[in-house]
Every structure is written in C-alpha cells, then in structure tokens.
Assembly symmetry: C2
Homo-oligomer: 79 residues x 2
Amino acid sequence: MTELEIAIAPMHRLCKKAGADRVSEAAAKELAKTLEEIGVKIAKEALDYAVHSGRKTIKSEDIEIATRKTAGKLSFDYF
Amino acid sequence: MTELEIAIAPMHRLCKKAGADRVSEAAAKELAKTLEEIGVKIAKEALDYAVHSGRKTIKSEDIEIATRKTAGKLSFDYF
C-alpha cells in the first residue's frame, strides 16, 4: 500500500505534457514516488540554506537555491 | 497565476518530512513548480525508453530507469 503525499492523477497529466499518449497506472505511481523522494531531498537542502541564513522558516528563495544546487545538474534547457 | 498540476498542500507535508518546522506558502508553491519541471523531464526520458523498447505506453520500469539515469545523480543515499 503506497502512502503517497503526491496525487497520482496529476502524474498522468505531467506525462501527457511530456508527449506520452499512454501511461500505465504503475508508471504514474512510480513518478509520484520519485518526485516525493526528490522533493524531500530538495526540502532538506532548502532547510540547510534557511538555517544558514538564520531562519527557521523555509522561504521560496531557499527552495530556489536548493533546486539550483541539486537538480540544476538535470539540465532543464531542453524543456 | 500559477497553473500547477501538483497540489500545494502535499508540498508542506514533504517539507515537514524533511524536518522543517515552518514553510512559507511561496516556498511550497516553488517546490511544486520545481517538482513539475523535474517530473516532465523524467517523463520525457521515460517516453524515450518506452519507444526504444517498442512501446507506446510508459510503464513503471521506464520511469524507474529514467529516474536512475536522470535523478540518480542527486544521491538519495542520505535519505
């Protein structure tokens, strides 16, 4: 039993945006699971940056820098 | 106006899982936006692998290999 925070239905829509005609239910679940893991990782990084800045609240700029430092390697250029 | 597929509320929960006490609304929105971009990128990779395998349907294993090849560099080891 998957205990996901991220909903499955939006995952199908993300895949359609990516150009897919058909997406299995298991694939959508797997994508949700993956994005949750990535999300927690980015959030952990963002928390580090917030604390580094003397704050207890994660702000948008913490997420932005965490994304750049972490997922920036994923090369979004061809979006 | 953000037109996000991923809901904002689960993003707060992901940040709590990451150990954050407080998360701004803007931060949660930014995280959702980031995960959508990453999600579409992984889905595009997965589609490539599905087509490479002679299929039109993205299956769970396509997402899995796309994640390994793309986000694998994010080093989930310290989760």
